[in-house]
Structure formats: structure tokens, C-alpha cells
């Protein structure tokens, strides 16, 4: 191609390009594809490993032991409702903490805060999101429990579900705040202007225009937070007094077990899970249940997020 003048006629060779570059291109493509494939394969393997052991559990367990009065896997008592109830109570308490505070923070950041304050506050919120959950677990046990929960109820024990729930709630505040704020900020400024132009005050505009317009995103924030709360392990493990077994209880001021803490307390610090024959397999069953619940919630949340994107 040293000839710089226009050739009289092109040949196919002129358009073939560098073989070497093409090979590199194919190689890069293959490597990236493998990376993507690997993450899918790992997910499938995780589910497969859960399903295998969980199936062993389901097929061998006595049905009666699934509905008794407590979760004592080492003694062959696998009352799933004990764990579900514990998880539910923790989640409800966590949401009672996280939704008002997270939404309030989001409304402030999106609608009220001047630009400078927002710039300062958002990183602070992200720091809160970055606190390791084990730290929050200790905070729940040594601060929330004696200072707040045991003042609310004189009956409350040191380890209790309520403190764990509040701790999990604090953990999910940044999540709620950040998703909700995104949703509210994606509401077009033109709608706010329309509202102000009609003589609405800021609070009216927020409640009657911005929040309804962002509602799909707020629902998504709620679902993601619930999913996070259900899956949270460390805080409940430390603060709710997971001891490897617990009686069925609906009292938030008493120790309790969530699905995650039940698994962790059996599996902690040993390569063997001791107890009756199916103890080991029972954990996989609980894990599969947990996985199914959070999967459904995350898919649901994704739908709602999609809806926000479509609207504007």
C-alpha cells in the first residue's frame, strides 16, 4: 500500500484488514464471554448444591418434626415456622426503622437540601452503608439493646429480636434512602414547577406530586430493603442470641432465631455440623428457602425499577 494515488481498482485484499488485530479481537471477545459465563455457572452450581442437600432433607425428614414448637436441628426438631416468624419479626422491625428514616432522608436530599448540603450528606450516608454488619451487630447488642430496647420493656433480655431488628433497620437505611432519592430525583422538574406555579407549597408538592410520580421506585426501595433485611446474617447472629436452637416465640423482647442466624450458628467455627442425622441437610433446606424468597423479591423490585424508567 505504498502507492498513495487512488488505485484504479480495489481488490478484496485492500479491505481484509490486519489478521493479527482480528485474532486479538476474537480472543478478547472469548475471554469476556468466559468471564460472563463463569458467573452464571457459579450461580447454577450454588443452586444445584443447595437443591441436592435440601432434597435429601425433604425426602428423609419426618413430616411431624417440621411443625412442632421450636428449631432444634441437633435434636431432629425442625420447626420451620419458628425461623420464618423470627425472620418476619426482624424484617418488620427493620422496615419500621428504615422506611421512615430512609424515606425522610431521601425526601430531604431530593427536595429540600441545598446543593452544598447534599454534597456533604450523600457521602456520609454512603459511609453508613459501608459499616461492616459485624460492627453493627455489636452496636445492636451493646447499645441498642440496653439503651433502647430494655428501656421499652423491662422484660427484655440482653439478647433480643428487637435490638437485632433495629440494627438491621439501620443497616438498610442507606439502601432505602439511595434508591428512593434516585426515584424522586428522576421525577421531572417540570412537574414540580407545575405544582409550584399553582400555588402549592413544597410539602404539598412533595406529597401530592413527587411521591406519587416516584411511587414505583419507592416500592422498589422497600422490596430491596426487605430482601436485604431477610438475608442479613451478622447483626441477628450477634444481637438476637442465636444459640443453635430456639423455641417458637413471637416476643420481640426475647432471643430468637432468623433463617440466616440459624444457619450461621450451626455452621460457625467448625467444619462439622454436629447433631442428629439431618442437621447438616436441614441448613441447606433453610438456605434454599431463603434464596427463593430473596430471588422473588429482587425480581419484583427489578420490575418496579423498570417501571420508573419507562415512565420518564
Amino acid at each position: 500500500m505504498s502507492d498513495l494515488t487512488t488505485p484504479a481498482a480495489y481488490t478484496l485484499e485492500d479491505f481484509r484488514g490486519s489478521r493479527k488485530r482480528m485474532r486479538t479481537e476474537h480472543l478478547v471477545r472469548a475471554v469476556l464471554f468466559l468471564a460472563a459465563l463463569l458467573s452464571i455457572v457459579i450461580s447454577v452450581l450454588i443452586v444445584a448444591s443447595l437443591v441436592g442437600e435440601a432434597w435429601t432433607f425433604v425426602s428423609q425428614v419426618e413430616a411431624a418434626s417440621l411443625w412442632s414448637d421450636g428449631w432444634f436441628p441437633r435434636r431432629g426438631i425442625y420447626d420451620i415456622k419458628t425461623l420464618l416468624t423470627g425472620t418476619l419479626i426482624v424484617t418488620v422491625i427493620a422496615m419500621a426503622v428504615a422506611m421512615p428514616l430512609g424515606l425522610g432522608a431521601a425526601i430531604y436530599l431530593s427536595e429540600y437540601a441545598p446543593a452544598g448540603v447534599r454534597k456533604l450528606l450523600k457521602p456520609v450516608l454512603e459511609i453508613l452503608a459501608g459499616i461492616p454488619s459485624v460492627v453493627l451487630g455489636f452496636f445492636a447488642l451493646t447499645f441498642l439493646s440496653p439503651v433502647i430496647v430494655q428501656r421499652l420493656s423491662s422484660e427484655a433480655t440482653q439478647f433480643n429480636i428487637a435490638a437485632a431488628g433495629i440494627g438491621v433497620g439501620i443497616l438498610t437505611i442507606p439502601l432505602v434512602a439511595s434508591i428512593s432519592e434516585d426515584a424522586m430525583r428522576s421525577v421531572p422538574a417540570a412537574l414540580r414547577e407545575a405544582s409550584y406555579g399553582l400555588g402549592a407549597r413544597k410539602i404539598t408538592t412533595t406529597i401530592r406530586v413527587v411521591i406519587p410520580a416516584a411511587v414505583s421506585g419507592l416500592v422498589a426501595a422497600f422490596i430491596v430493603a426487605v430482601s436485604r433485611a431477610i438475608g442479613e446474617t451478622m447483626v441477628v447472629f450477634i444481637a438476637a442470641g442465636a444459640t443453635g436452637g430456639s423455641l417458637f416465640s413471637t416476643d420481640p423482647f426475647k432471643p430468637g432465631q432468623t433463617m440466616t442466624a440459624a444457619i450461621a450458628s450451626q455452621a460457625a467455627g467448625t467444619d462439622q455440623v454436629r447433631g442428629a442425622g439431618l442437621t447438616f441437610q436441614s441448613l441447606f433446606f433453610v438456605a434454599l428457602l431463603l434464596f427463593a424468597i430473596t430471588l422473588v423479591l429482587n425480581v419484583l423490585a427489578g420490575r418496579f425499577v423498570q417501571r420508573v424508567r419507562q415512565a420518564y
Binding site: 414547577e193 407545575a194 405544582s195 406555579g197 399553582l198 400555588g199 406530586v209 406519587p212 410520580a213
Partner: protein, 277 residues
């Protein structure tokens, strides 16, 4: 664009027909941060007239319009200097609540911006936030009729306002604005997103309702200003010497006929005859 005339001392109103003075604007400048968007505007806006603001992009006509209902308050960095009084009340007195101002001075925006609510709820929104209780059916019907939209939507008031066509949406926004029974309507290029037929309907509507309201309209469309307005203000831009940024200023404010047939200022003439802008 040297030696701009002293705008403040310009004969702002030829002996006016029309009614009382609604807005009395004196030496108003608007700044965004340290940027001066528009400077030294003085004018009087009369009741039951349509006043048009025309001029090239960036000349501050929309900025000026937003001073009349304190919409500029929503921008953190905006600062208004000078006096704007509304029926004798200083709109920028610290004691004035902008919410009260906006209840009397309604606004229609460039892009139709109905709420993602039903047609009915869109129109009822203003009266509701103003504290109206009880059945608003009559208010909604009257406003929709006032905006010449009633016949098209009376059978589907529960449908979303966003399901309407662009022209219908803009008339819905006008209905929404007049449902609060304002005294003034500020319209910021209300037809720029609409086709000529929808534009024609809105122009007819403006002429129809000016008996009840005072209207100020910002428009890029000179024919529109000529067709609908009684008085026209021509704004232009000048490049500031120190910062190289453009500042808007009012060149001429007069009867619309005069602006388009016999303007006093050469810059107005250049603009309206299409030699500039």
C-alpha cells in the same frame, strides 16, 4: 450595540388603553450567581390585555416572565433586583409569601406538563391545594370549558392527563391554571411544542379569555405576537464587556401595531423584519 438607550427613562407606555396597571416594573435586573441574565427592565402591564415578550434566545424574556410569579425563587442562585409591584404591592417584600403570589398569578409552561394523574385530578389540583373542600365537579367543568377542552374530554375525565395529545395536554395545563381562578396568566412559549392547528386553538383561546384575565406571553413566534397581543415588548441581548457573557435587556415596549409597523428603535426593526435573530 453600543450606546444602549437609557431603558429606565424610556417612554414605557404610550397613553394606555386598557384598564388598571397590574404590574409596575421598575429597573429590574436578574442575576444567576454572578451572571446578570437581564438588566434594567421597566414596564407597566395593563389589565385585560395580552402583553407579548419577543426577542432572540437568551434575551431574558422567560427570566423576566418568571419574576412575575416569583418562579425564580426556585433557583438557588437567582437574585432579583429592582421593584415589581402587583396592584401596588411590592412582590418582593420579605413579608410576601410566594405561594400566595402564585395562587393569583398562574403559569403555563413551554412544554405541556400535566401531572401523571387523571384529567379531573389535574384540573382539581390547584383548588385542592388552595384548600377547596367538597365537590369540585363544577370547577373542573368550568375550567375545562374555559380552556376549550371540555367537549373532547368530558367522557374520560378519569383517564390520565398524559394520554392526551400535545395540544390537548397544553389546553389541560391552561385549564389547570385557570381552575384556581387567577387574575393573571403567564405563558412561557405555550405553543412551541405544538403543531399549527393546536397553536391556532390556543391563540383563539387566549383572545377569548383575556376579558377575564391579564395575559403575558413569551413567544419566539413573531406572527403569534402580532396576532394575539395588544402590547409587545422586544428584548435583545448585549455582550457584556467584562465577562463576554450575554445579558438581556428591554429595547422597546409599545403597542403591538407600532412594534411591527413603525418601531422606534432600529434593533426592533431589524428583528421584526427578519434581518437579525
Amino acid at each position: 450595540m453600543t450606546d444602549a438607550p437609557m431603558v429606565g427613562s424610556m417612554p414605557t407606555s404610550a397613553p394606555s388603553r386598557g384598564g388598571a396597571t397590574v404590574f409596575d416594573v421598575h429597573d429590574v435586573s436578574v442575576h444567576y450567581g454572578d451572571f446578570r441574565a437581564v438588566r434594567d427592565v421597566s414596564m407597566q402591564v395593563k389589565q385585560h390585555q395580552i402583553t407579548a415578550f419577543i426577542g432572540p434566545s437568551g434575551c431574558g424574556k422567560s427570566t423576566m416572565l418568571r419574576c412575575f410569579n416569583r418562579m425564580n425563587d426556585l433557583i438557588d442562585t437567582a437574585r432579583v433586583e429592582g421593584d415589581i409591584s402587583y396592584h401596588g404591592v411590592d412582590l418582593y417584600d420579605p413579608a410576601v409569601n410566594p405561594v400566595e403570589v402564585r395562587r393569583r398569578i398562574g403559569m403555563v409552561f413551554q412544554k405541556p406538563n400535566p401531572f401523571p394523574k387523571s384529567i379531573y385530578d389535574n384540573v382539581a389540583y390547584g383548588p385542592k391545594v388552595a384548600g377547596a373542600k367538597g365537590n369540585l365537579d363544577d370547577v373542573v367543568e368550568q375550567a375545562l370549558q374555559g380552556a376549550a377542552l371540555w367537549d373532547e374530554v368530558k367522557d374520560r375525565l378519569k383517564e390520565s392527563g398524559m394520554s392526551l395529545s400535545g395540544g390537548q395536554q397544553q389546553r389541560l395545563c391552561i385549564a389547570r391554571a385557570i381552575a384556581t381562578d387567577p387574575e393573571v396568566l403567564l405563558m412561557d412559549e405555550p405553543c412551541s411544542a405544538l403543531d399549527p392547528i393546536a397553536t391556532g386553538r390556543i391563540e383563539d383561546l387566549m383572545v377569548e379569555i383575556k376579558e377575564r384575565y391579564t395575559i403575558i406571553i413569551v413567544t419566539h413566534n413573531m406572527q403569534q405576537a402580532a396576532r394575539v397581543s395588544d402590547r409587545t415588548a422586544f428584548f435583545t441581548t448585549e455582550v457584556s464587556e467584562e465577562s463576554d457573557r450575554r445579558t438581556g435587556l428591554l429595547v422597546e415596549f409599545s403597542d403591538t401595531d407600532k412594534i411591527f409597523t413603525n418601531p422606534a428603535d432600529e434593533r426592533t426593526e431589524n428583528y421584526v423584519t427578519g434581518r437579525f435573530g
